[in-house]
Symmetry: C2
Subunit: 551 residues, 2 copies
Amino acid sequence: MDQMKPCPANSCPQTPLTFLERAATVYGDSPSVVYKTTTHTWSQTHRRCLQLASSIAALGIQRGHVVSVVAPNTPAMYELHFAVPMSGAVLNTVNTRLDSQTISVLLRHAQSKLVFVDYHFRALVLEALSIYPPNIQHPKLVLIMDDVVSDSIPSSSTVSDYEGLVKTGDPEFKWIRPLNEWDPITLNYTSGTTSSPKGVVHSHRAIFVMTLDSLIDWSVPKHPIYLWTLPMFHSNGWCFTWGMAAVGGANVCLRKVDPPAVYSAIQRNHVTHMCGAPVILNMLSNFPSAVPLRNPVHFLTGGAPPPAAVLLRTESLGFVVSHGYGLTEVSGVVVSCSWKPEWNLLPAAERARLKARQGVRTVGLTEVDILDPVSGLSVKRDGSTLGDIVMRGGSLMLGYLKNPEATAKCMRENGWFYTGDVGVMHPDGYLEIKDRSKDIIITGGENVSSVEVESVLYSHPSVNEAAVVARPDEFWGETPCAFVNLKVGIDRKPTEKEVIEFCRAKLPHYMVPRTVVFREELPKTSTGKIQKTVLRDNAKAMGSLVAASRL
Amino acid sequence: MDQMKPCPANSCPQTPLTFLERAATVYGDSPSVVYKTTTHTWSQTHRRCLQLASSIAALGIQRGHVVSVVAPNTPAMYELHFAVPMSGAVLNTVNTRLDSQTISVLLRHAQSKLVFVDYHFRALVLEALSIYPPNIQHPKLVLIMDDVVSDSIPSSSTVSDYEGLVKTGDPEFKWIRPLNEWDPITLNYTSGTTSSPKGVVHSHRAIFVMTLDSLIDWSVPKHPIYLWTLPMFHSNGWCFTWGMAAVGGANVCLRKVDPPAVYSAIQRNHVTHMCGAPVILNMLSNFPSAVPLRNPVHFLTGGAPPPAAVLLRTESLGFVVSHGYGLTEVSGVVVSCSWKPEWNLLPAAERARLKARQGVRTVGLTEVDILDPVSGLSVKRDGSTLGDIVMRGGSLMLGYLKNPEATAKCMRENGWFYTGDVGVMHPDGYLEIKDRSKDIIITGGENVSSVEVESVLYSHPSVNEAAVVARPDEFWGETPCAFVNLKVGIDRKPTEKEVIEFCRAKLPHYMVPRTVVFREELPKTSTGKIQKTVLRDNAKAMGSLVAASRL
């Protein structure tokens, strides 16, 4: 058959922005956003986003300009996921837990033209701008007042007001469609567990595919009640920001995530779905006043494997936990531990072991594999041979902004994206991450997965959190060094020696930590991941263990 | 922001074929195909398709060759939806209700290199080949024996046996991936209600998008039990062929669709989902032995609006009916009557009226509109102004095979695909088809929608089926002419005059049929649509009504 070429009607750019207009028609009277005493419908959200997009354009923002947002999970934050790209601009949501110095660097790197800032982060952003070099033009600012009374905000000629932009905008605005589905829609800076932040650029096409893919993989029905515990700035809320418009969900917003707020929101709004890192599950399950949920809540977790104990506790409360895996670079959850009904018959510990695996690719991802770093061939499906986790598919990023070297390093010529994660393939075709490549500890020539050592530490009854990193060693090159945070209110604190012996009973000798450091708190990224770079520096600063002391 | 270009990792071709390999991993032990006494699992189906694909390639089939299938909804028919494109070929499923002459024309037009034929259609296909001109090479044949004992089949050197190809194939075959997502995957000839058949070519990309879109729009959960009442050769079963692999569904196959077989399959297999034209719903609801279903069955209907009476009867039996709209040219259901919970409170007749509307675009379709044929602008959202239904989106066809004129006529330079349907937009943004452009009757300068007249006829207690076409008229140009099939077992057959009077009470004078013809049977296409071209010819043959007789 002769090759037939695409034409304008079938190759029109695919974009998640088309979901909103449809939501206004199909789910017009259904709640779109719920926050404190405010409830919007999808008709209202559609109208407000058009108004906002028209006002953004009126501020001089053009196709391809970057517009940043520094805000918690509020209605404004949600609306900007549509309004900013509908104005033709690229949405850059900024991690609110970053310091002003880093934010300043990011805004300049992004050449952000306009910054929406929640009143709570006003000082932070003003400080970030104050350290701009004099020759660099400041972005315009729009203040999101939320429910703060307006007279508490000092007037300033450079600052517009969010609700003002909505009110003065044109609800008949013809939103700016992408010219090409490869046009950028978002810019997300990675959380930087292993290196300095990089700006991940996603296309309209990638977000379109990821959004549909995630809805199918999680079997999201129509009209879910979705509680925003995952920060929207974290990989665009794994695309459920746009996804809720596709299925007419209600976005329940929370300014601050703590157990009383979460449980109260679940009960008040009859929440059906929520996402978050395992740290959120841990927090919810350890909450002393936690009582079993009235109705099941589907909880999609990712970012780290959920520890068995946490799984058991949360599931007994009524959370239906699914485990997925993704990276900012792939737009969302592209591998998930697709659950088999027959696994429900297994003992709890076995169920937890299976669920802690990252799993299989979602239908939207084209391929995933684990490659031997030397031969480049697929590793054996034996559950133990380590290799590089690689992927290809429609939801992968365009690349890192202004960083072709970093882009080329992971988006390889061989057609694979190298995730930087190291894992194994189990005989049943489910993959499991063993570590970030950079977190692997090489001791006496053996590769030690820090995650495996941590999982043993987590099984210790007194351990709340644990992280294992490499400590330089004169003899072995590196040895495992554990940083441990103990549970509150335990009867007796274990000693370093006891913890080491606990590990020795469960691990090969070379994998056992040689050092255990107790800490009140472990350093974390904004998304709740433990910052191993910091701990690695700490371990380095401790110096080499003297070889003699260990032989 | 500078434009960033796609690279191999993110622009790898999207194809529904990747769903199968995943299904083997995720749903490996779950049933994939259920038929008579045979049940396959997804592992088996995956293995069989690889074997089959390798055998197809071994027969000399190359990338881009057309492979045809003439078969009912059997396991082989299902497997070929994967195996044929996995060999690099283009799948062409042929309508089994066509005559040998037409099949011969289609196979030659498609330049089919290989034909899989179910034993039941062996004579039909051999006849089709016997009328090939002598200079045209015959395609190779593969006979699908199904459960017929093999010694009843005469041996022939040109004929291979389906199960033989499966058995001798290589389960480790590296299936042929598309080089580009715009590569063709299917060739479907349209049913030809309005003109001679045209060969619709779809890309891997289009089928990928349509499959995901349909799963979301119908909220298909994991592990549905899907009964194949819709012929798979009809627009590839609206992409649920590939969709079942994405969600691990069980494909319950039926060689022949009649009420006892359908009800028995529903009960035996605990069917949850099925699709079909309203004629199937009608058939199921009129079955005298129908008893309410034990569990709800989701029924997606399309191809024509479901008549109110049929909706009421089937819904009272426990079918949950959804109504969608699509065309072979757009791969599946791209507009659906998305149901609003508040509509459940309306009276039954009102619910039926709302559900008969085609509805709103699905999330995967980029845009749909109704354009005034003269100005090209969107028609008023008044529910009465007629216009051309147009679309654009990722699931649209590449075009008609070897027919650039027909392609250009509907895939216009203005970026719209013209469906050939005429409809109205209701004030709430839901569209409703009023007719095929060619079925519109123009009487005294007024446009009459044949569908509207038919819906009145359907409300007559004695009418089983009705179709209204144009009859030439010396004075009015055309007048509505009704062909009516009466219900079986009615007390008294109405007269032509009574039917006309019944319509007169419910329609404007100019819309009332001037002629009513009673028929034992109405001519239908293979997909159950009434063939109006045939009826139009019949009406023409009746000659013009003499103007005097009507004034």
